[in-house]
């Protein structure tokens, strides 16, 4: 037994020396000498020669003049990679995708081919009937209690608005407590469904949103009847009411999250889908001709497109950060 223990100790000590000291040190040296760029994290530099990110790691772009990466379940946090881990049968997945689609989907055929459906979602929403029954918002909150709660928790102003409602609707709150004896002192999120039901009754065809009041310093919440919130939240319900309308399909990678949350690429189709938006914004910013800008951007895209494993493995794609840096180089000096 003594022998076993001593040899165990010796073997672990040797392994520490070899695997934990020599082995990483050797590789570190190889990296330093032969692959300094890769071993250092593939850091790339922007137009001003400052490090703007890693070629391999996605970073967020929100403004219209940039190509946007795939949505990230990790909020592009490269210190905590994460996936959404949503099953196909989980409504949260469908709802997340629908909310991206609402503001960007266009008609594919018919008299309005090429136009956004977003205004029609708003019209439909203002009429306030879904599936032949009144009160869209109330139906939505009842069917998807989790989403209603998520809306309340999403922002502190939302929670404040619900609390304000609760203060003036003590009868509704009392009824909630009666039905849910487990939560004698409900918080804002607990009251989500009750709030939306009552809100929908008082404000048919409206959804709580930011209303800008003249003279008010901070943004106030109030009932609104249009805006991206409505387009996003109610696109799926609008779709269920209009199942046969022909819509332009959006590239799959544009609405699905990647496994790491840091996927630096988008498919070429996704880039083409975005190119009009990007071109018109750069044209507007740099006062250049839009068709010319579009042509130049297309050339940048073509130059950056690549096929994984030289085409053996997958479809054409581009690196979002690299393309955006080139756009910045090309057009920003003209600003």
């Amino acid at each position: 037994m003594i022998k076993n223990i001593s040899r165990t100790a010796l073997l672990i000590a040797l392994a520490i020396g070899i695997c934990c000291v020599l082995y990483p040190a050797l590789l570190w040296g190889v990296g330093k000498v032969f692959f300094p760029f890769q071993a250092g994290g593939s850091v790339i530099y922007g137009p001003g020669k400052e490090p703007v990110g890693s070629e391999l790691i996605a970073q967020p772009f929100t403004q219209d003049q940039y190509f946007q990466p795939r949505p990230s379940a990790a909020s592009y946090n490269a210190a905590a990679s994460a996936s959404a881990a949503l099953a196909a049968s989980n409504y949260a997945l469908r709802s997340r995708v629908a909310s991206v689609l609402g503001p960007i989907v266009r008609y594919k055929s018919g008299p309005r081919a090429g136009q956004l459906v977003a205004p029609d979602i708003e019209h439909w929403f203002q009429k306030d009937t879904f599936g032949g029954a009144p009160s869209i918002v109330s139906q939505w909150a009842t069917a998807h209690g989790g989403l209603a709660q998520a809306w309340v928790s999403a922002d502190s102003s939302h929670a404040r608005y619900v609390n304000k409602w609760a203060a003036s609707h003590f009868l509704d709150v009392a009824q909630f407590v009666k039905q849910n004896p487990g939560t004698p002192k409900p918080g804002a999120a607990d009251l989500a469904v009750a709030f939306f039901t009552s809100f929908s009754k008082e404000n048919p065809g409206k959804f709580p949103g930011v209303v800008s009041q003249a003279g008010a310093a901070a943004a106030e919440m109030g009932p609104v009847n249009q805006g991206t919130d409505i387009q996003s939240t109610f696109f799926d319900m609008w779709r269920q009411d209009n199942p046969d309308i022909d819509l332009e399909a959006v590239p799959g990678d544009m609405v699905t999250t990647s496994a790491s949350g840091l996927d630096p690429h988008i498919t070429f189709e996704n880039a083409e889908f975005q190119v009009d938006r990007v071109a018109s914004k750069w044209a507007q910013l740099s006062h250049l001709d839009q068709t010319q800008v579009r042509e130049q951007i297309r050339r940048i895209l073509e130059a950056n497109a690549f096929l994984p494993l030289r085409g053996l493995a997958g479809d054409k794609m581009i690196n979002v950060l690299k393309v955006n840096i080139q756009l910045q180089r090309r057009f920003a000096p003209a600003l």
């Binding site: 076993n4 672990i12 692959f35 772009f61 959404a84 949503l86 799959g252 609405v255 990647s258 997958g314």
Partner: protein, 607 residues
């Protein structure tokens, strides 16, 4: 057609590499390699003399106990150790227990996230150390079994075998692969993280002072860990999202070799088995059966995941109502309605892209999911939780059978269980005493095999039942209905098979010890899966070494007319039949309640 290039290329390449590799392995393990004198010095220092199978097994257990203590100390002392620039604290005690067991048993189930919870010191002195050593343990156990089968009274020396495996086999291979991974873009530094100013200032939001936030990028000795992680079929990622993270797996080429790396050793070991026993034809039969099953799981997952859209966005043309008889319900039946659903306008010609990375290629995620569970690696390059419902059956099957090449050593050992059982059943059917390698299989051997074989289903079915019925499981599920059940099933299957992949949505992470908001039932998961991993690893290993020891002691009967030939196609079908029938009988109910129910049930399921 392009979809199949990656899987076919992988199977071909791994098979071709396995032939020379198996020759090299056998050469090393038979002690024919004469290392230079300074290396012989270490071998001599470790050598405790030839061991019987019993003392070999004792050494194996003592060594693993030593590994446990070392791992526990390294992880528990993380806050006080060097190379911790980001000041990472101590993990919760149950998580330390779970992680130490997990890495020691070659499972690498991770209830923590490497990029968030581990310092570079822990990554190197805990993860990399365990990856080299735990991979070698399974390898050595198999070599001992082979020697016992050869009728040797002594089965070699455990410590010398360990040295040979990790220094002469794993180390050179790891260096080669690591250099390739660096060339593709895996970082290799001792820095913890660095910050960059995003191209669009403020796109990451603002910090406390109202300035545009910068992006913090975690880096470290990624390439060093990545190569042994794959070669040793360990599977515990440097980053939380494992081989899907662009630093662990930067390109399509790195992904191909990443996948190939985990197949090399398990493939070669099967041929080494035949070479060391002098029965090459027999090992080719085993190899073909395994290859057939692996191809089956790959085809299954690629077909249902890459060639089918994600059903979350597709339409269902008409609603259907099903009557389910139920005595307690009014009217004697419940109506279950699958309502009509209008599809979302999403172009899904590339298959299910939710939880996939683009750069690996279209079918790479599904292929990887099948391979990683077949060879019990457990690394992932796509989110297993977001696989299409039926596609998830492929990784589950890989873990349930646990012998489709399997982990180093243990995979073949598991296969040998099915083999002995198959021969035993066949012998019962024709009324002959069953023999393997010319030795009569007696009651004692079959008992040991059945103990080892039943460990796996017991370690899956019992805890799944327990957790599915209690808040331990119900509070941890993150997806509704049957998929939540699959999450629980997957976690225990992964633990018992010593695989280590997971449906990531399951709430099993406690995080740092001072985490104010841990997953509510994380402690129960840490302890339960930790125990499952321990039993799932050591009981079969010990039982199989004992079985081989007892069998090897017997006299070899001469090859006769009535001997069951073990190198024919018929024998291959006997093996395949045994694995499929036994495996299916054990796990079909789980499959029906989980993935199949999810596919057939309403999508979306509930609110």
């Amino acid at each position: 057609m392009k979809l199949w290039i990656i899987p076919i290329g992988l199977l071909l390449a791994a098979t071709l590499c396995a032939i020379p590799l198996s020759r090299y392995f056998a050469w090393i393990m038979d002690g024919k390699f004469r290392p230079p004198r300074w290396l012989r010095f270490f071998e001599k220092a470790l050598d405790t003399g030839e061991q019987t199978w019993k003392s070999y097994a004792v050494s194996l257990i003592v060594f693993n106990a030593g590994l446990f203590v070392t791992g526990f100390v390294v992880l528990a002392l993380q806050p006080w150790m060097p190379m911790n620039q980001d000041h990472k604290g101590m993990l919760a005690p149950t998580t330390i227990f779970n992680s130490v067991v997990s890495f020691m048993t070659n499972t690498n189930l991770q209830h923590y996230a490497g990029d968030v919870n581990l310092s570079n010191f822990s990554q190197i002195f805990f993860c990399i150390l365990n990856m080299f050593l735990s991979a070698s343990v399974g390898f050595c156990a198999l070599v001992a079994i082979i020697r016992a089968f050869r009728g040797q009274k002594t089965v070699g020396n455990f410590f010398v075998d360990m040295w040979r495996v990790f220094v002469y086999l794993f180390l050179p291979a790891s260096i080669l692969f690591a250099v390739f991974f660096i060339s593709q873009g895996s970082p290799m530094s001792f820095q913890s993280s660095f910050q960059v100013t995003t191209l669009e200032p403020g796109s990451m939001g603002t910090n406390d002072k109202g300035e545009p936030a910068r992006q913090t990028i975690v880096t470290g000795p990624v390439a060093a860990l990545e190569s042994i992680k794959m070669l040793g079929t360990n599977g515990g990622g440097f980053f939380g999202m494992n081989a899907s993270h662009p630093y662990e797996n930067p390109t399509a080429a790195s992904n191909f070799f990443n996948t190939l790396a985990m197949m090399l050793f398990p493939f070669a070991l099967v041929l080494m088995y035949g070479r060391m026993l002098g029965k090459m034809r027999h090992s080719w039969v085993i190899f073909s059966v395994m290859l057939l099953m692996m191809a089956g799981t790959i085809i299954w997952s690629v077909y249902f995941d890459t060639m089918k859209p994600n059903p979350a966005f597709t339409s269902r043309a008409a609603s259907r109502t099903y009557d389910i008889p139920d005595k307690t319900a009014p009217g004697g039946k419940i109506d279950v309605c699958k309502p009509r659903v209008a599809g979302l306008p999403v172009d899904q010609h590339l298959g299910n892209l939710e939880g996939k990375e683009l750069r690996f290629g279209t079918s790479a995620g599904a292929t990887y999911a099948a391979v990683t569970t077949d060879v019990t690696c457990g690394s992932v390059n796509a989110e297993a939780d977001a696989l299409n419902p039926l596609a998830a059956l492929a990784p589950l099957t890989g873990m349930w059978l646990n012998c489709i090449f399997g982990g180093k050593g243990v995979g073949l050992m598991n296969f040998l269980m099915f083999l002995i059982l198959g021969i035993f059943l066949a012998g019962q059917m024709v009324g002959r005493t069953p023999e393997y390698l010319g030795k009569k299989i007696g009651g004692r051997e079959v008992k040991l095999v059945v103990i080892a074989l039943l460990m796996h289903p017991i370690m899956i079915l019992l805890p799944v039942g327990l957790f599915a019925a209690t808040p331990w499981g119900m509070k941890a599920e993150s997806n509704p209905g049957p998929h939540g059940f699959t999450q629980i099933t997957y976690q225990f299957s992964s633990a018992s098979a010593n695989n280590g992949s997971a449906f990531d949505g399951l709430g099993v992470s406690y995080g740092f010890n001072d985490n104010p908001n841990p997953a509510p039932e994380a402690r129960a998961w840490d302890i339960a899966t930790g125990l499952v991993m321990l039993f799932g690893r050591y009981l079969p290993i010990i039982a199989m070494i004992a079985m081989a020891g007892f069998l090897g002691e017997k006299k070899s009967a001469p090859f006769g007319l009535g001997t069951l030939r073990d190198d024919t196609v018929t024998f291959g079908f006997l093996l395949l039949g045994t694995v499929v029938v036994v495996g299916a009988l054990l796990f079909l109910p789980l499959a029906a309640l989980g993935p199949i129910a999810e596919q057939l049930g309403p999508i979306p399921f509930g609110g």
